[in-house]
Subunit: 110 residues, 2 copies
DNA sequence: CTTGAATTTAACTGATAGGTTATTTAACTA
DNA sequence: TAGTTAAATAACCTATCAGTTAAATTCAAG
C-alpha cells in the first residue's frame, strides 16, 4: 500500500477528518482529541494510529501523554495528486478539451 | 455517508486513481478503460460505479457503450477540503504557530 | 426474432475497517 | 511499593470491500 492509498483512506473517515480539523487549531493530547467524540478511547487510539501511519500527523511523548500535531509533509503529498489533475477540471482548457471530445471534428472511428 | 467520504474512499484505491488518470487523457468507454487492467470486467464495472457515486466521473450511454468522463465538480469538492487546511501546513504561518505551540510563553497549566 | 457484443447484477469468498469491552503497559504520585 | 492515570493492545463482532465466475440485461444487426 503506497502512501497515497493510506492518506486518502485516512481522509475517507469523518472522525479522522474531524481530528485533523481539531489539530489544525493546535496540538493536542490523545485525551483532548478524544473528549468531544462519542466513541471509545481505543477507537480514537486506532484512528490516530491510522493518521500517523498515513503520515498525516506526528506524535511526541511527553510523560504519559502523547501529543499529536498535523504533519505538513503528508498532507501536502495527499494534495499533490489532486493538484496534478487540477488543470483538467478548472478553467477554459478543461472546457475546450471536453468540448472537443464530445464533438469530434470528423465522425471517424472510436 | 457524505460526499467527501465517498470521494476520498474512491481515491484511496490505486485502480480507481489509475482510471481517473486515464480519463484525464480523455473520455473512454468501459471496455477501453478496462483494457489495460489485469482484473475482470465486473471488477472494473464496480470501480466505475464507485467513482460515479462519488461524483468523480459522469457516464453517458451511447448505444451499448457507456462513455465515462471526469467530473470537475466532484473532483473540485474533494480538493476543497484539503485546500481549506493548506494555510495550516504551508509557509511561515504554519511554522510560527508550530513554534508557539511547542514553546509556550508561560509554562502554564496543561 | 435470434445472435452477439458491451456491460451490469447476482452470489459467493477472503481480507480489512471500525466499533466494542477487557487487559496490559508505562509513567506519575502519594 | 501501591495506586492512579494516559494510552495502547488483544480478542472479538459485524459490515463493507475488492475480487471472482456465472447469469441477466440491453442494444445493434442480420
Amino acid at each position: 500500500m503506497n502512501s497515497l492509498d493510506t492518506a486518502y483512506a485516512a481522509l475517507a473517515d469523518p472522525t479522522r477528518r474531524a481530528i485533523l480539523s481539531r489539530l489544525a487549531l493546535g496540538q493536542a493530547t490523545v485525551g483532548e482529541i478524544a473528549e468531544p467524540f462519542p466513541i471509545s478511547g481505543p477507537a480514537i487510539s486506532r484512528h490516530l494510529k491510522v493518521l500517523e501511519e498515513a503520515r498525516l500527523v506526528t506524535r511526541t511523548r511527553r510523560g504519559q501523554s502523547h501529543v499529536l500535531r498535523l504533519n505538513p509533509e503528508g498532507l501536502r503529498s495527499a494534495q499533490e495528486w489532486l493538484d496534478h489533475y487540477r488543470a483538467f477540471w478548472t478553467g477554459a482548457l478543461d472546457r475546450l478539451a471536453d468540448h472537443l471530445e464530445r464533438n469530434p471534428h470528423k465522425p471517424g472511428k472510436e
